[in-house]
Symmetry: D2
Subunit: 342 residues, 4 copies
């Protein structure tokens, strides 16, 4: 049994409390929030959970094994470091920190203290991404040619993070999880249409040494909601439409191939091929439930999570690089190769 | 009555012959093509139309008033100049030429000889774009914030033009038609996955002085077909889904607005507003029919077409700039301001 | 403040408890269920609510003003009568009883004791149906020509009710609410593919004196989920797709009209007209919340609810008639005219 | 080489002329129509085809092997009999005649004279129906439980046939082709909303001895176009959406099964199962092309077509039975068992 404390009961915190409450191997001991009204809500919903307005109470409580932090991004570093230094295992909301330097310190601290550090990149734990991963690992797609994601809707403008840190972050984590290589360069464009607000719309291209290219289109200003990923391989291609109630993931037996037919060569050099499509059944378990159980399991087994601090760090590096490129109207930003620990 | 000759009876030429045949004020006199099999097909379908394998026959024929050229792009300049020098009015397929320098010469030659020069940017004549133009000119959208187009499918790889000249060209012409300003800079990324072929996938961002931003995603390598434009204004927003059998254009009474509510300001600075949506009835006349009649009318009234050589030239300039940026992995390319004649 | 007791904490009961808990003018006092495990769940979620395995405790408790019954259909009559006789206002799940005779007794008992009797036909309180009602009452549709509903999916086979009582019941209540007349005859076909189970698939046609015709297609055996209503008027037509995340209701300026054009009369006698479509913004409040507040309001104001016992009774009569016709492979069953109280 | 004459160049005739013109083994010799303007159109489009306003010219012409009749339904019998008596092979548009008695005479006459008689139930030759047939014949679906078709749109009101003969006829032919049994009873409801016009909306249920049930919903009065068939088997289920540009046919590994789990039995007696879905690649050849070639082949090989007169006759019998039931507001009409020749 792992005792968990949660800091932050705003938008996402309630999901964490609810999920850990229903995870057999976990026990929610305490919740901290600065807002007394939110703490009253916790008491009403979870009468057995202790509440406090001082997050340090959680660090001091030696019965607490792990702390989950669901507060604004700018507080992640300070709270996360304090939790690790108090010897707690750490669950951090995404993105894990405001800068790669901070993320690196968090990773190092967790390593030094042998604590489990998970970053809540929830998408990795969805039935859809797990199925895509399975299909790719089986080699069905062939060589990966491109990844193309559209993630737009009329969304609440965030105060302290841009649309890249809010939405593109999902694609950065999915790409890191699915591909066996890291991007070498980034070009991003975007804009904030309202002075004094973060960018509300951005287009990001990631370049890979293998020739794979990835593109992410994110916006808080679209009249319709779109959550669509295209993933093209030389053998097969995948679409992942997260708004489909069922059949979210479709695998197309479509591809391109060089032709030797002289008649066709006259017009083009590449032919295409169309076969069946299939939509595999997906595991419908709530992703956060899967992730919570995985976190507990990693603590008990002393193993690194799938979305560990290193993955979280690489995602923050991409946010930094994309933001830098966006300031330069698409100027290419090269990423330094990093040793990958995962 | 305007007598028309057509050069090129490959993929698009038959549409031109059919349309001009059914335009009351036009008369198709002759068709030229290098391939005897294609000329036989003309004779079978249109027994009264003269055929020739020598396009110069059309220039020499003084009964021919106008020539339409539907040949590979690399031949547009030579054939177009010859037609103009022979005193013919000119219909050129898109893009009008391989380079902006050539396009400028074609424009100048047409001006000098007082000939009508139309570039076949067909989309401008669709019911959908005409309705969007009407709604924008009525000021319904407010300030234009962004234009975002996805135009992908598993398409035939072109031999002599990239996916930008094949597909993004449609968005460049629509943007030129709808917006009252020209872009000042371009950032584009793209790749050719098969050595020796043109780019088969590209992502292009256009920047405008007013703050409007435009983005175009084009690909010949997608497992599904998408033809979707989002157009966001400060008052209303439009979606244009060309694959919808009806209701292609939808106008959303949605937008964002600054808030003075202190509670909301704590979380964000911009609020959003959602109202009704309407899908206006669109004129279903075939765009090529509308365009053909417009060309004849321009010849008879001696007036410039909506998609004249200047628009065609600006589109070629954008293709050049986007291609240059794409070679530099998204490097910003600034466009020189041009006097706009339209 | 109205004190509420709920009997039955199975599939739907939890929604009632949650909703009344969050309705300001209501207070959930007690919950009864035969299953101790369900009562434990109540205690965990709502520590301040009393639980009991004997539903009679609720009737004896004079502090309880109203009782909501969410138990299997076959128990509705006995429990409902007991509640009314104990002087409680009554909320009954749909369908209100197994027979029209029972429904009539419940209505009479409520009338005699001046108690409010509401039947939980939730759809009537959705933003979609309320908007459709508003549009129809404004006369926008013209004369109502037909209502056509498809309500199919791969659903859990019910044990004690057929697919008509499970799904068509929604359409019967919507029709009763929207139309100003009652059907005069019913023809229904259907089947149970598995011996010993209720009908799992049915097609029902309702005939009205005015010429309006209604059709309902319900099934637990469809591979895809469909929730689609078409409503055709002589002036405009409506579609209501309940699976659309937004734009559930669309109003089409489409219709048919007689033509005097002799050319057209040669081919047909009726022409059609196509105009704009609009999707009005819908109130997104949870229907059960609206209905709960309405029930409380009716109790306090002593007024009949929109879905009162008479509506519930008419719905049960239709279920009976449709079931009788279904046994006769579509044999017409005529409905006796009833005085309408609403 | 088979010489073909076509009678009727109205709505469908041009498709027949075009298709037979492009079928290598066929040769279009002559076209008859009463309207001189239609004949002029033939001459313009097909200069080598003879035209006549007297259909008897085609019967007298001994060089003509086969006659295709695309005239109003009420003329099918007279023209068809005359063609057969003149020794011609016969292609009849659907439905083949106004009554089953006439259809029987046409079948008998063709048998007596050993002529090929095909009825143009085009859907049978689509890639979609051929694939469905293939899947069913392979036993993939298990026992067939139901067939459910919706075929509605805002359509031209026909003058001489009801919506059943216009639209439901497609389902009657598909059912006859796919199922190995004939229906034993019919119940249909429908109405004509405009006095003096045929029924414009109808709901038809077909009953089969095996327990299979079929339902067809047809209308010329719907604001949106729907062309959707659901086909449920005990093992798998199919959807066929004819408006999907690709992936028209989807095969769902979904079904129901009895359960022995006592816990589940408490709530229901049947469980369901959900697996992968696949959309097989369909042959995209135009159905009319396939059918034309099949007709020619049947003539040359002296074999009966897939949609021979017997199938056409059974379809007419269903139209008669459904129409009779519709007049009786859904009254069950029993079909006499017929020996099946196919």
């Amino acid at each position: 049994m792992v005792n968990v404390g949660i800091i932050g009961y705003g938008y996402w915190g309630p999901n964490l409390v609810r999920n850990f409450s229903e995870t057999p191997e976990a026990n929610v001991v305490a919740v901290a929030d600065l807002d007394p009204a939110r703490l009253q809500l916790v008491q009403r919903r979870h009468p057995n959970v202790r509440t406090t307005s001082d997050f340090r109470d959680l660090f001091r409580d030696s019965s607490i094994d792990a702390v989950a932090i669901a507060t604004p991004v700018k507080t992640h570093f300070e709270l996360g470091m304090a939790a690790l230094k108090a010897g707690k295992h750490l669950w951090l909301e995404k993105p894990m920190s405001q800068s790669a330097a901070e993320a690196q310190q968090l990773v190092d601290e967790a390593d030094r203290r042998q604590r489990v550090l998970i970053v809540d990149h929830t998408f990795i734990y969805t039935g859809a991404v797990r199925k895509m991963s399975e299909v790719m690992n089986a080699g069905e797609l062939g060589k990966i040619l491109y990844y193309d994601s559209t993630r737009v809707n009329l969304g609440l403008f965030q105060r302290d993070v841009s649309v890249i840190a809010d939405l593109a972050v999902h694609d950065f984590s999915i790409l890191d999880h699915l591909l066996s290589e890291e991007p070498v360069a980034v070009s991003a464009s975007g804009t904030n249409h309202f002075p004094g607000t973060p960018e509300n719309l951005a287009y990001i291209t990631l370049f890979y040494d293998s020739g794979t290219i990835a593109h992410v289109n994110v916006s808080w200003l679209a009249p319709v909601k779109v959550r669509m990923i295209l993933l093209g391989g030389s053998q097969k291609m995948i679409t992942y439409d997260d708004l489909e109630p069922s059949e979210k993931v479709k695998i197309y037996d479509k591809g391109v191939s060089f032709t030797d037919d002289p008649q066709k060569i006259l017009e083009m050099r590449v032919g295409y091929r169309t076969g069946d499509m299939r939509a595999p059944r997906l595991d419908g378990t709530e992703a956060l439930r899967v992730e919570g159980a995985h976190f507990i399991d990693c603590i008990e087994q002393r193993k690194p999570p799938q979305t560990d601090g290193n993955l979280g760090l690489r995602v923050v590096r991409l946010i930094e690089a994309a933001t830098a490129s966006m300031c330069g109207k698409g100027e290419t930003v090269y990423l330094q190769k990093q040793v990958r620990f995962a």
